[in-house]
């Protein structure tokens, strides 16, 4: 549930980039820090790493102020992908308002993707979130690498799934903003009524997405 602070006039969404180890979650945030043209953009906070791999999380704050005076913040987190850090991963996932699942397109990573998604589903259950109602976008990253699953293969596999599917090569920024945009759309649809974004704050879906730094440049 997004955190609404009436006194401070602030609404905060927690968005979590989840996925298998070394799938490019941190790279997504680094690129988004460059690409998103949100009204307010903080520095990317990268916590301790070990051999260039996330141990705790990365945090990218983005935000904008509405004409109505409401500050809308997005705090984008990554989780540590390594299997051993499940406790940390679960703690970062708690209180999430939206999730990007960053999958690895390489053929030999299919099993890891499956296990990571299974882990996401389980941990969502453990922290009391309903995967059927949570805004979720699936990103297939690393399209720049050889020996990857074709887009048709992936589409066929995800044909039954209800989530938006985005192809990306985060290393050179391809698809990063599109992924974030898709998540912003899902977030608006899920929470707009609850916080009367369109009514009280004059925020339609397109305005919301554009102000948050999504949408087509």
């Amino acid at each position: 549930m997004p955190e609404f602070e009436n006194d401070a006039g602030r609404l905060t969404f927690k968005l979590v980039y989840y996925g298998p180890a070394q799938g490019g979650k941190t790279t997504n945030l680094m690129q988004l820090h460059e690409l998103a043209d949100a009204q307010m953009k903080g520095e990317l906070m990268t916590l301790e790493t070990q051999h260039d791999r996330t141990l705790f999380f990365d945090l990218l704050p983005l935000g904008f102020r509405t004409a109505s005076g409401l500050t809308i913040r997005f705090r984008l987190f990554t989780v540590p992908g390594q299997v051993a850090h499940d406790g940390t991963r679960k703690a970062v996932l708690s209180r999430a308002d939206g999730v990007v699942f960053v999958a690895d397109s390489q053929r030999n990573q299919a099993t890891n993707n499956g296990e990571a998604f299974q882990n996401l589903a389980e941990n969502l259950g453990r922290v009391g979130l309903d995967i059927a109602r949570l805004p979720l976008v699936v990103q297939f990253n690393k399209r720049d690498l050889p020996d990857i699953l074709s887009e048709d293969e992936i589409r066929a596999r995800y044909a039954e799934a209800p989530w938006p599917l985005v192809f990306a090569a985060a290393i050179d920024g391809r698809g990063v903003r599109e992924t974030f945009t898709a998540l912003l759309h899902a977030v608006w649809r899920r929470y707009a009524d609850e916080f009367d974004l369109a009514g009280a704050h004059g925020l339609g879906e397109q305005e919301f997405v554009a102000a948050a730094g999504g949408g087509m440049p």
Partner: protein, 396 residues
């Protein structure tokens, strides 16, 4: 998880900076800039012990993410103040990161601990299950062992019964043959005696009297009659022996238990000491489906114990009654009774109070097994008035 301790909460200046630290920082900044420096909170009010800033003083925001959590204020060029604010932000950011990481770590440890506890509970549950299984297994094995023991005893006894039965059948057969020709010879002898009596008319009376043939003929007739009686007794004993061993009837059959008891008493009567009085008190019974040979063996074992209890003289009473759907047979002796500490053990296998070789310690055990196999019950007690009563109840 305590609310308010989430790792991803928004930090306030108060959380990151103790008043003493704030005073020290302001003093240091004042030293660097040469003018008094104040620290203000997010709302612009002086933080902790900071002095209010001079009117018109420059302000530099302290931003960690998007919005300022405080300000530095001093009457100096804004660029110089911004530089100091930048330095202070680094310190605050480091503290915030440390807090986030340690809080996150705490959350993760709690989550892991909770997970471990769950696994521990599951392990405990499965351990308890296996423990219970093991315990049951033990009881099950004991139960099975007991059944095997019982079956072995029954088998042993059945074999013994079979050999006794065979012996009895063999003896009966062997005796029946000579009995047959003794009987027919006796018949011939009686006929000859009648023919010999006709000699009286041809033998001179002097010779007749000299030889005392009147007496001889009379006594001869008595002897033959006595022999005939003896023969009939032997024939009856053989018949009882066969009936008792039931060698001819290895299958279950419907019998009148009273007839069985009567045959049994007839066999025992010949063995009992003179001083013992054996009384039968039998009342009509419904027919009983049973293995007669086995039941006879059971009653014989009980009866033998009773007879031994009154060896020196006394009475053994065998009573049969129909009680509802049950047949009860009680065998009572007026002997010395059984000591209380021995009473619970009399049915135990190989328990005997007699000398080595005198008893196997299996008689009553097998009797009980046989009666249980007939879905019956056997009970032994020593009433206050003395003696011992063994009561057998069998479902008709």
């Amino acid at each position: 998880m305590n609310p308010g301790n989430e790792f991803d909460r928004d930090f306030t200046l108060q959380e990151l900076l103790a008043p003493r630290d704030a005073a020290e920082l302001c003093a240091a900044a004042t030293g660097l800039l040469g003018v008094p420096v104040s620290l203000l909170d997010a709302g612009g009010a002086p933080f902790a012990d900071s002095a209010p800033p001079a009117p018109g003083a420059a302000r530099a925001p302290l931003v960690l993410e998007l919005e300022p959590l405080g300000f530095l204020a001093a009457d100096c060029p804004p660029s110089a103040l911004a530089g100091i604010a930048r330095l202070l932000r680094w310190g605050l950011l480091s503290r915030a990161r440390l807090r986030m990481v340690s809080d996150l770590h705490l959350e993760a440890v709690r989550a892991d601990y909770a997970k471990l506890q769950q696994q521990n509970e599951a392990l405990k549950a499965s351990e308890a299950k296996y423990r219970e299984l093991a315990a049951n297994l033990d009881a099950k094995v004991r139960e099975q062992t007991q059944i095997i023991d019982e079956r072995q005893r029954q088998l042993y006894q059945a074999e013994r019964l079979a050999s006794i039965g065979q012996l009895a059948a063999g003896v009966a057969h062997e005796i029946n043959n000579p009995l047959g020709f003794i009987g027919s010879n006796l018949f011939a002898a009686e006929r000859y005696r009648a023919q010999l009596a006709a000699l009286r008319d041809v033998i001179p009376p002097a010779v007749w009297q000299q030889q005392d043939l009147d007496f001889v003929f009379a006594d001869f007739a008595d002897l033959l009659r006595d022999t005939r009686e003896g023969l009939e007794r032997i024939a009856r004993i053989v018949r009882d022996l066969k009936g008792f061993s039931s060698v001819d009837q290895p299958e279950e059959q419907l019998v009148d238990l009273n007839a069985q008891l009567t045959a049994l008493l007839a066999v025992v009567n010949g063995q009992k000491p003179e001083a013992v009085n054996l009384v039968a008190d039998l009342q009509p019974l419904p027919p009983l489906m049973c293995l007669p040979g086995h039941l006879n063996q059971a009653f014989l074992a009980i009866l033998q114990n009773a007879l031994q209890a009154v060896e020196a003289g006394g009475t053994v009473t065998v009573r049969s009654r129909a009680v509802g759907d049950n047949i009860t047979v009680s065998i009572r002796d007026d002997g010395p009774g059984i000591p209380a500490e021995v009473l619970p053990r009399v049915f135990d296998p190989f328990f005997t109070t007699r000398g080595v070789g005198a008893g196997t310690g299996l008689g009553l055990t097998v009797a009980r097994d046989i009666i249980l196999a007939h879905s019956g019950k056997v009970d032994i007690s020593c009433p206050l008035e003395g003696g011992t009563v063994v009561t057998v109840a069998l479902p008709a």
